[in-house]
């Protein structure tokens, strides 16, 4: 599209052939480029709406401020594209090292729109106004073919149905996180780049730019401390909440998905949790109030049971269990939410109860299955024999 404007100057120049008038006089340019029917060879309009341009952020500029290669009229057929970087050097420098650095694929106008109708980013008409950003980025990042080509997830639909997306699109909240809140704008880096705000160990800080309290809480917990110590196996915000499809944590869907997420690292704890009534209820759905990992352990500032501030510290168990179980007392909280009935050393009483019940079950059934099978065979044999002897039918 940009090239069209330069071609327009060429054509404009041809129209006023012979004149030595410098092309910085806007009326001169518009004498050709004000014509709505003016098109380049491929049929793109070369018309500039003087009114719109005048109202835009660039309205005070002269044509030649950007189209610097056009000095005179007539101008050549092929003109050098305008360089935004001549004014916006910082942004251009940022873009240069980013994932969008290939200029031919990502000219400034893909995000900012027509340079002749550009508005400040706090103007709702701007393509980079906070409420417009997801749609602007989504033009590419909501495209399946593009996502496949670059091996990226198709994030726009995930984002727009997330709690951030709803806050932005439904409530029009300017403070709702949009794409650039986390990814930045010009200097966007891959999440694999340690400089990126979406690099794993930077995520708590990135989310914390809005969720400061939660991040402070998180950094005080075991996961935050591990991340701070450089252990990238520890989960950050996006490991539990996901990056784009973030749900309201009290929502049934999130409560249903949260347990396997914790269990993907804490496998032994998930396995023993699965044996409990908490898990059995939880798995059936429709009753999302049943205890999930973080109902007892806390969500962000998770502390080991040995820490007196932990909700699962012995002294706090009555209060923690009591959140759901009215009347929980010291004896009640002796219940082990992660008891392992298969472990004789850890849970001897439970181990022997289970062993007894299994032997009772297996013993009773084995005896009676044999007993009843023999009985079936014998009485059928007798029946057939008796009827045959009576000369009747035998079945």
């Amino acid at each position: 599209m940009k090239i069209d404007f330069f071609t327009a100057f060429t054509l404009g120049a041809l129209l006023v052939a012979g004149s030595a008038c410098p092309a910085n006089a806007e009326t001169d340019c518009l004498s050709c480029h004000g014509d709505k029917s003016l098109q380049d060879a491929s049929g793109h309009s070369l018309c500039i709406d003087a009114g719109k341009f005048g109202a835009s952020l660039h309205g005070s500029l002269k044509c030649a401020d950007c189209h610097v290669t056009i000095k005179d009229y007539p101008h050549p057929d092929q003109v050098t594209p305008a360089e935004c970087s001549s004014c916006h050097a910082d942004q251009a420098a940022g873009l240069a090292g980013s994932v969008h650095s290939v200029k031919a694929e990502h000219p400034c106008t893909t995000c900012h729109g027509d340079a002749h109708a550009i508005f400040p980013k706090d103007d709702p008409k701007s393509a980079v106004y906070p409420l417009n950003i997801p749609r602007t980025c989504g033009a590419c990042h909501g495209n399946d073919a593009m996502a496949r080509k670059h091996g990226l997830p198709n994030v726009y639909p995930m984002y727009i149905d997330s709690i951030h997306g709803f806050a932005l699109s439904r409530e029009g909240l300017l403070v709702a996180a949009n794409c650039q809140s986390c990814h930045g704008s010009h200097h966007i880096l891959s999440h694999k780049d340690p400089q990126s705000p979406t690099y794993k160990s930077n995520i708590p800080k990135t989310c914390g730019s809005c969720h400061a309290g939660i991040t402070a809480d998180y950094m005080g917990g075991v996961h935050g401390k591990s991340i701070a110590a450089g252990d990238l196996k520890a989960p950050v915000c996006s490991d539990c909440h996901t990056a784009h499809a973030i749900l309201q944590p009290t929502e049934a869907a999130f409560r249903m998905q949260s347990t396997p997420i914790c269990g993907s690292c804490h496998k032994d704890k998930l396995s023993t949790y699965r044996d409990t009534f908490h898990s059995q209820l939880g798995a059936l759905g429709g009753y999302v109030e049943t205890a999930r990992c973080w109902d007892c352990h806390g969500a962000h500032g998770i502390l080991p049971a040995s820490d007196p501030r932990s909700p699962v510290a012995p002294a706090n168990l009555v209060a923690t269990c009591g959140k759901c179980h009215a009347g929980a007392n010291a004896s009640f909280v002796q219940y082990q939410p992660h008891a392992n009935a298969r472990n004789r050393k850890m849970n001897p009483a439970l181990y022997f109860v289970r062993l007894f019940m299994n032997l009772l079950l297996a013993g009773t059934l084995t005896f009676f299955v044999i007993h009843t099978m023999l009985w079936l065979i014998r009485s059928r044999y007798d029946q057939v024999k008796r009827r045959a002897a009576e000369g009747g039918k035998n079945a």
Binding site: L281, G286, Y335, R354, L376, I377, R378
Partner: protein
């Protein structure tokens, strides 16, 4: 009804008048069985999805009936009804034994309590199965019927206690040790599984599907059975009553056509539900 057919075949040789029927179960006992099997099916249908909550059918069932909240509601409802039926039965037994001074409740040929003859019968029956001896002759309640009764009785106490301990855990925690709260779920689910597997396979076959009763023994529904069936299945009781001159007192009206049809509908439905649950249980258990 092979036994009825056989009865018909035998009738020409039989000196007894045609079609005499004898009372085996009182209406109270039949109602008790009806409440027992209805609530048991309900408890099994709502308990199994909890026991095998990871299986696909459990989740499907839960979503159809309105999620876990509705499953546990019905589980508790059936449990309360069954508990009441159990308590009424226990009260009846003690009233009969100690208020009405009825004989033979706790001991003797008509009692549900096991005795030495039951041990001999079991041994004799096993020998007969493999052709090593004659078929034992049974009294009013055979050993496997007593086992069924006591299995339910023991199951009621064990499953009931562990179930209420989970339902009212903070209360039970006042006098139970902490590990017991873990144990009650293991006990409840294993004993429940045993009951389900036992009833839907062993009890169904022993009582209903074996050749002498196939496809269903109607006596628990109609309360009466034909004289031939009585003589064939419980020869000792028949002879004892005859010798005591009490046989005539047991004569009852033949069951009406509607009663048999109704019993068949109810009975086959119960057996069908039970077999479906049995298949689901086995598939979940071995997957």
């Amino acid at each position: 009804m092979p036994d009825r057919e056989q009865a018909a075949e035998n009738e020409s040789k039989d000196i007894q008048p045609r079609g005499r029927y004898f009372m085996r179960f009182t209406p109270g006992q039949r109602y008790l069985h009806a409440v027992l099997f209805t609530t048991f099916l309900g408890l099994a249908a709502t308990g199994l999805p909890m026991r095998f909550s990871e299986s696909i059918w459990a989740r499907k069932f839960a979503s159809v009936v309105g999620g876990f909240g509705s499953i546990i509601f019905f589980h508790k409802l059936f449990a309360v009804v069954l508990t009441l039926a159990f308590l009424i039965h226990v009260k009846d037994v003690f009233t009969r034994a100690w208020v009405h001074r009825e004989k033979g409740i706790f001991w003797g040929s008509t009692s549900m309590v096991a005795n030495w003859k039951d041990v001999k019968d079991l041994w004799g029956h096993l020998r007969w199965f493999v052709g090593l001896g004659p078929k034992p002759r049974f009294e009013r309640y055979a050993y496997w019927e007593k086992f069924d009764y006591w299995a339910v009785f023991w199951g009621m106490i064990v499953i009931g206690f562990s179930g209420y301990a989970m339902w009212f855990a903070p209360f039970f925690a006042r006098f139970l040790p902490g590990w017991a709260l873990n144990a009650v779920l293991v006990i409840h689910s294993e004993e429940g599984l045993l009951a389900i597997l036992f009833i839907f396979s062993i009890h169904f076959v022993n009582t209903h599907l074996r050749p002498d009763s196939f496809p269903m023994d109607m006596v628990i529904f109609t309360g009466v059975e034909s004289e031939e069936e009585f003589k064939h299945k419980r020869a000792l009781e028949y002879e004892r009553l005859k010798a005591q001159g009490k046989l005539e007192a047991k004569i009852a009206e033949a069951p009406g056509i509607w009663q048999i049809k109704f019993s068949k509908v109810v009975g086959y439905t119960a057996i069908a539900i039970g077999l479906v649950l049995l298949v689901l249980t086995l598939s979940a258990y071995f997957s």
